[in-house]
């Protein structure tokens, strides 16, 4: 077949595509499948064309198109768009930066975070006199207050907070009584300018603050009114310092995914965060470590060299803590001979005077590491590099564990960074995957990481995972092999690997089109993007993800989340998806606003009929015509619904979308989050109730569940 002939054929098929797309797009997909049967090559007839290519690319390599994105990419040219996305540093992202300014704690080093927002154990240590108070006056005030609140909660036998949530110093319940003069004092506060207001609160003795807490809760919104983000977070740290860190981390992750112009960077950041999974509830310090992990370890290497990323994760406090390597001690090391407890604990022991203080030090010493921990070594090979059945033995695991002894955390309670502790390192040569690693301290670890990063087994394992995420639940082996070769040739350059995938016919095959079911994260973020929502507080979206079984940083096993449809399509999740869609459509998610009337006007002017309105919404949300069934159901509902019904609100009540819960699925954490959700102001009613209902139904439809 000559090239001219192919061209004509392609044009003809494209024409058929356009016509059929309007009539019955899903039928065409079925047709495409039939054509694929028995073919090994990928001729033009099985390849996506025109706008379908753009939509496909945006659905795979971004968190879904916003209204207007398809047109913008068409203007720019698809390949040019992708190449630019591979260089996020060249993209203007100032709108995102402006939004992220609301979360100033994100910019602090792990050490500063730990100083500014003390964890529960740190406050206990301070209360027990094991740690001196800081010298900075604002911080000193906060520490004095939270330490006092801790002491009070102990005296009054307030039940211990749940695990993984060990501080909550200022009791947040509003069933407390006003102390004498509390109303007047809070009114006086409200009369002050924001900076003076904060200063007055910091200057107020903790006893008095405790007496005012009910009133302060009532006037929470007014108290923070006009404060800078830093001032607001300083104030919030009086109530629960750790939750400032947790909330900023979770909020910023969603804000980036929704608003960033550098979408390939964001999608790849999430890919690696999931690949090198960390569970946020591992311990008290994890959220602090995760802030640095996302910012300094994962994001800078998301489109870089795999080996750099692997080394950065190996040395990160988050990974060392999550997979316990920081506690691993060589059985024949100097530290093992000395009993394990570090100098830090010894120094604390000297300061312990009261029985409480001695008990805390005792507990720390009792938890001191006693030997080799193999967790990191095993997951490094099984999950991070070679893959399950990657050709290593239990003996290799033990040997690799020995190699990484001494890779630990400096002053873990205070947010210190990586430390190689020679005293913990196992002496002697090690034998890893048949290769002798000579005794060389920290360098042994780099040698092993290099060996693993450059292994063909690793290339295959990583590339298969990429293909599952971006192409299909069952990616063709030829594609995986081609990507793996590119991985090896480029020494693990992720840009090259992604370019190989981009230029492969398998990526653009019609059988790949809309073949992936959205994970909860992709569903929620793509819905927010399609509706061009304005997110003032992402807490309800964070809660929705939890409800859908995919909490941010919430995957407990080191495997990370899976990216196959079978892991996410379930009965209870579908009800939650539909309710989320209806609530988002109806502008009923507090702090997450959308206005369909404005989007419709900006799109194509005033709609003349219900039918036109519905079709414009299809274009905005789906970027393609809805299936006949979906359209019929939406229209049927729109026609039979009264205005009053359409306007009735879908409350995102704490019952429908519960908040972040630390630990168990029922109990105190949930109540606290219910309070947090209640504190968010409700949105205005939708300006176009009918469009709201249509939009909600379209977002909840089968058409929007795939990408």
């Amino acid at each position: 077949m000559g090239s001219g002939m192919t061209g004509i054929l392609r044009a003809a098929i494209a024409g058929v595509v356009c016509v059929q797309l309007v009539v019955q797009p899903l039928g065409l997909e079925a047709l495409g499948h039939k054509h694929m049967a028995g073919m090994t090559q990928a001729p033009a007839s099985t390849q996506l064309q025109g706008d379908e290519r753009i939509l496909h690319a945006l659905n795979r390599m971004s968190y879904g198109p916003r209204p207007g994105d398809v047109e913008a990419v068409r203007q720019m040219g698809l390949d040019k768009w992708f190449e630019l996305q591979l260089h996020p540093e060249k993209i203007d992202n100032s709108a995102l930066e402006a939004r992220l300014a609301q979360y100033p704690a994100l910019k602090l080093s792990e050490e500063r975070l730990a100083e500014k927002f003390p964890t529960g154990p740190m406050i206990r240590a301070m209360y027990n006199g094991l740690q001196p108070l800081p010298t900075d006056s604002a911080e000193r005030a906060i520490y004095t207050d939270v330490t006092y609140f801790y002491g009070e909660s102990q005296k009054h036998r307030v039940p211990a907070p749940k695990d993984g949530d060990g501080n909550g110093m200022m009791p947040a319940q509003d069933d407390s009584e006003d102390g004498p003069g509390a109303r007047e004092q809070v009114q006086a506060l409200l009369a002050l300018a924001p900076t003076e207001r904060l200063q007055r609160i910091l200057d107020t003795p903790p006893q008095q603050l405790l007496a005012m807490r009910k009133q302060m809760g009532v006037h929470r919104q007014q108290i923070v009114e006009g404060m800078t983000p830093e001032q607001r977070e300083t104030l919030e740290s009086l109530v629960n310092p750790r939750s400032v860190v947790v909330n900023d981390l979770l909020a910023a992750t969603l804000v980036r995914e929704i608003y960033s112009e550098t979408q390939v960077q964001e999608v790849m950041t999430d890919f690696w965060l999931n690949h090198f999974n960390i569970y946020i509830k591992k311990n008290e310090n994890t959220p602090y470590q995760l802030t640095a992990y996302e910012r300094d370890v994962i994001a800078p290497h998301a489109l870089g060299r795999f080996e750099d990323l692997l080394v950065a994760t190996a040395k990160s406090t988050a990974m060392m803590s999550y997979l316990d390597n920081w506690e691993s001690i060589g059985p024949d090391s100097m530290a093992a001979r000395n009993g394990g407890a570090g100098r830090y604990a010894q120094a604390m022991a000297e300061r312990a005077k009261t029985p409480e203080a001695k008990a805390q030090v005792q507990a720390i010493v009792a938890r001191a590491p006693k030997g080799l921990n193999e967790n990191y070594a095993r997951e490094l090979m099984e999950l991070h590099t070679l893959g399950v059945n990657g050709g290593y033995t239990q003996k290799d695991v033990t040997e690799v564990a020995k190699v990484f002894t001494g890779w630990t955390i400096e002053r873990p309670m205070k947010g210190g960074g990586f430390l190689f502790d020679e005293r913990r390192h196992e002496p002697g040569t090690k034998l890893v995957l048949g290769k002798t690693i000579a005794e060389h301290g920290q360098t042994e670890g780099y040698e092993v990481l290099h060996m693993l990063a450059t292994s063909p087994q690793t290339a295959k394992s990583i590339c298969r995972k990429l293909a599952v995420r971006f192409v299909s639940d069952t990616p063709p082996q030829a594609l995986v092999d081609r990507m793996a070769q590119s991985f090896l040739d480029s020494k693990g350059d992720m840009r090259e690997v992604l370019r190989t995938m981009w230029s492969s016919p398998e990526f653009w095959g019609k059988d790949a089109y809309r073949a992936k079911v959205k994970t909860p994260l992709e569903y929620v973020v793509s819905a927010a993007r399609a509706g061009q929502v304005d997110v003032k507080t992402p807490l309800p979206l964070v809660a929705t993800l939890e409800r859908l079984g995919m909490p941010l940083y919430g995957c407990m096993p080191p495997t990370g989340y899976y990216w196959r449809a079978s892991d996410w399509v379930s009965t209870s999740a579908l009800v939650t998806r539909m309710n989320f869609a209806l609530a988002l459509g109806a502008n009923a998610i507090p702090g997450v606003t959308t206005d369909w009337a404005v989007l419709l006007r900006e799109g194509s002017g005033e709609a003349a009929s219900q039918q036109q309105k519905e079709q414009q919404l299809e274009a905005l949300i789906l970027d393609r015509p809805a299936s006949d069934k979906t359209r019929a159901a939406v229209m049927q509902q729109a026609q039979t619904m009264t205005v009053a019904q359409a306007a009735s609100r879908f409350q995102i009540s704490p019952d429908t979308v519960p908040g972040m819960d630390n630990g168990g699925t029922a109990g105190k954490g949930q109540k606290r989050e219910q309070r947090a959700l209640q504190q968010i102001r409700p949105n205005a009613p939708p300006t176009d109730p009918q469009a709201s209902v249509m939009a909600g139904l379209l977002i909840g439809s089968p058409d929007f569940q795939r990408r």
């Binding site: 899903l26 749940k162 379930s570 069934k629 699925t665």
Partner: protein, 422 residues
């Protein structure tokens, strides 16, 4: 015994009809009834699992009051002999567990003491993970033991199961129930509906149902069918009208309400075979208290919730096995702040119509200093998997124990025989 079964089956049929109140029984209800009957023919029983998250102090729940070291090691938090609810001349219940006492005396409640995990981890995170996955010290397990137990339950019979077969009360499907078999999380029975409490909810539900019913997308259509069936079943169960029976009064706490909703869903014949919920607040490092205090309050809530559930289930309790578990026990010695730290072995409760109760199972390892694990806590003499394995085997009929607890090497002949054979 057979008389009860006949009565029960008759009740179920009547109950299912009564739910809809029309002559035509919809297919989803027929299916539920069918599932019920085949299950009744096989084992007829349901398993309820309660996780006490945060490591409850087993030595305060089931007190070894004859151990002198117990009182030596716990100068201010011990429960005195005259305060315990007498069990068997050696152990006594914490007075806050008063709701358990009659169940024990009637032979419905069994206790397994010194049970726990072979893993030596003292991390809540790891230990809960290992218990829920059912694979101690194996971090890479992705599914939970209860999901595998249902998979192992007579797969050859290919029974019809409803969407409620594996159910957790809460916002998320817990680790214990995660796996290839679909499990459902219900945070509030009343809110399990499309469109929530909106006036437009029925219409919206129908609109979505039409889209998914006729979707050309086979994957989504299948799940859509199940979803709308589940929503209908729940609606037919009419949660708003639910009144606990037999004078049962549930605590108004989250746990109490979870137990109430489990009872409601079990009674509604929705095809629930395994239900899970949890209760936190056990991590008593400071001011644990003794007969009064934070632990005593929590224990009261715990036992009152279970006691109310038992009373509420009435005759249906016959077919239920309820097991409680916690990730590890607490130190034998009290610490410097009137509390206890992370320990090892714990006590588990097993409650049910078929349970051979009124007995404390397991070998007691002793509390003398030389008898303690690492010199600080109760030694594990019964692997928690043996207790859960027996419950799965004899309640759910999960015959392949290697599927349920891989590497656990469980053998029916080595069960504690808390439940009868067959």
């Amino acid at each position: 015994m057979s008389g009860i079964r006949v009565t029960r089956r008759a009740f179920m049929r009547g109950g299912a009809m009564a739910l809809v109140g029309t002559s035509a029984v919809p297919t989803f209800l027929q299916r539920a009834v069918l599932a019920e009957q085949t299950n009744a023919a096989a084992t007829g029983r349901r398993l309820v699992v309660i996780f006490q998250r945060g490591a409850v102090d087993g030595l305060s729940m089931v007190v070894p009051y004859k151990e002198s070291s117990y009182y030596q090691m716990r100068t201010s938090i011990a429960i005195q002999q005259q305060e315990v609810l007498e069990l068997n001349g050696f152990f006594g219940l914490h007075p806050s567990l008063a709701a358990f006492k009659p169940l024990y005396d009637q032979g419905h409640l069994a206790i397994v003491h010194a049970a726990g995990s072979p893993s030596i981890s003292r991390s809540h995170f790891d230990a809960q993970d290992f218990m829920e996955s059912g694979t101690p010290d194996v971090k890479a397990t992705t599914d939970g033991w209860l999901n595998r137990a249902l998979q192992a339950e007579d797969l050859a019979a290919k029974r019809q199961h409803t969407a409620f077969r594996a159910m957790a009360l809460g916002t998320q499907v817990p680790r214990t129930l995660q796996g290839t078999l679909p499990a459902i999380a219900v945070s509030s029975v009343a809110d399990f509906a499309v469109g929530g409490k909106s006036k437009a909810a029925p219409g919206l539900n129908d609109a979505f149902e039409a889209m998914y019913d006729e979707s050309s997308d086979s994957l989504l259509r299948g799940t859509g069918d199940e979803t709308f069936e589940a929503v209908k079943m729940m609606k037919a169960a009419n949660p708003a009208q639910y009144q606990p029976q037999n004078g049962a009064v549930y605590p108004t706490t989250a746990f109490g309400q979870s137990m109430k909703q489990i009872a409601q869903l079990l009674k509604a014949n929705l095809g629930v075979e395994a239900a899970f919920t949890d209760i936190g607040g056990w991590d008593t490092h400071q001011n644990q208290g003794n007969t009064r205090g934070q632990l005593a309050d929590r224990l009261k809530e715990f036992s009152d919730g279970i006691g109310a559930f038992w009373a509420d289930m009435g005759q249906d309790a016959e077919h239920i096995t309820l097991v409680t578990m916690s990730e590890f026990g607490r130190t034998a010695r009290q610490n410097g702040t009137g509390g206890t730290d992370h320990g090892h072995a714990n006590a588990m409760f097993v409650l049910g119509g078929h349970v051979k109760g009124g007995k404390v199972y397991g070998r007691w390892p002793g509390l003398a200093p030389e008898q303690l694990n690492e010199g600080r806590d109760l030694v594990v003499t019964t692997d928690f998997r043996a207790v859960l394995g027996e419950a799965a085997y004899r309640t759910l009929g999960a015959r392949n124990l290697e599927v349920v607890f891989p590497g656990g090497q469980l053998q029916p002949q080595r069960f504690l025989n808390i439940l009868p054979v067959g």
